[in-house]
Symmetry: C2
Amino acid sequence: MKEAFDINTIHAAAERLAGKIVHTPLLESALLNEQLGGRVLFKPECLQKTGAFKFRGALNKLSTLSAEQRRSGIVAFSSGNHAQGVAATARDLGIDVKIIMPQDAPALKIANTRAYGATVILYDRYTESREAIGRDLAEREGRTLVKPYDDHDIMAGQGTAGLEIAQSLQAMGVQADALLCPCGGGGLIAGVSTAIKALSPETDVYSVEPEGFEDTQRSLISGERECNATQGGSLCDSIVTPQPGALTFAVNRQTLSGGLVVSEAAVKRAMREAFIHLKLVVEPGGVVGLAALLTGEYPIQGKTVVVLLSGGNVDMATFLACCHEV
Amino acid sequence: MKEAFDINTIHAAAERLAGKIVHTPLLESALLNEQLGGRVLFKPECLQKTGAFKFRGALNKLSTLSAEQRRSGIVAFSSGNHAQGVAATARDLGIDVKIIMPQDAPALKIANTRAYGATVILYDRYTESREAIGRDLAEREGRTLVKPYDDHDIMAGQGTAGLEIAQSLQAMGVQADALLCPCGGGGLIAGVSTAIKALSPETDVYSVEPEGFEDTQRSLISGERECNATQGGSLCDSIVTPQPGALTFAVNRQTLSGGLVVSEAAVKRAMREAFIHLKLVVEPGGVVGLAALLTGEYPIQGKTVVVLLSGGNVDMATFLACCHEV
């Protein structure tokens, strides 16, 4: 029997997470609105615990593990934000955790994952398969594999951000024309779009990806799960994945209105605008939604758009270089 | 008859501001808590509209003006954050506004104040009196003077931040040992401490000031309103004032447990820690509370402390220089 994934799955996750996550507000800047000619409401998940939305899914997933599974430990693979979310949650729950991370992940992400008490195993993203290393460790050591996105409990946890957005919009009496969401493997946007389609059906949801890693955009067009040509080399480290997940794409092909693509130059400009107008540190992969507005990839004139800022875990040196360059 | 200023004044302001300001959340970082050996809950008013708490007081004050006063226009003097708060609010309410700002104010603050539609008048803070220029303009043009802090309506508006802190603590079931708050003229801390003493009396409230501008600390000791030796030259531009206000000090001498002082080096370190652990851009004068924890000026070991981050309006160049230098 196929497991159901719908708004009730997300409501259940929200109950599990209540009081344990940051209910991030919707923020806006009058000056940025003027500059863009529309209204933008930002959902700053860079302010979430561990600096990214990933804490939501990790906590929801780990909360569902049995006592036996918790005793046996877990293993996860991640480009960095899922790593921190899982490591912080596992520590709070007293679960032993090993995390497989690319050796070229931002230093801050690796350092923080270790600081939360996880054992970090580095791999080469061009020659090794993190999925294979993860499965192998899970089998040999009896650990539960906590996938970064292709898992209904993870997707539901991330979806609580969408639930909060819908609730905030309702409290403000605002209808949003669109929601722009960063997309790697598609777990965040699968959960968020499921919540939005249920509670704010008039809002179109779009994935946003960096040039060269627009697997979801191409998959939405072809109807098949398309692959990216390369596995790394993007400034947007947090949303580079080989292809859409099976479970996530099954949702996203039904909920999304399309896929948007942005350049690295636009991402840098967006980081700077977030600094100036929002007082937020947003990592490159987290700010792609704003980048899509700045370039006109999504024409915002006269519209109200929600932009999800997914994380803020960027090395100081990278941040400074991005802000200097613009 | 002496006008009363108490928790009811702040409750009335909160009703006036409901739905028009950002209810900023309390944020914390597990890794920063570990580093400090205590628990810190941050109130990020850099995320408030116009990038600082000042929007609260400005909106409360301007909401109380009569139709006649609104038609005649207003004038304000400010180092930059009150300027932006007043300018943005005045525009929303259709009030003509002139703002007197020091010519060495951060470029971002001057540019934003103009962008909100205000007429900006620059003055030399070493040779001219902004109070005199303001009074003169008010008399000659029939404008209402909107003071930056020494006004009960302004203090009450800022105090809504303290009301929110008390409500958040209660919702979390947390008792805070102390609250550290940036202090210039003392309007913010007068409002905040009044709310905290009414709703969370076990929490000690401390002012935090930069070295050389610790007029409130010295005034709390002497019982008189002491003056600073100089009017400028601090990195912490937003909290440099000649002396405590008359109305604000009348409150603060009763509500505050003492005054803390921090160096510019500590302020720069605090800006960097806020970047790394909170993903927030905080201006030098806004981050002094965290600086006091980093240096041990307030010993946090084993305690729970609320740190109010009052604003984020810092020029990119200054921010980059501060982060580089550490």
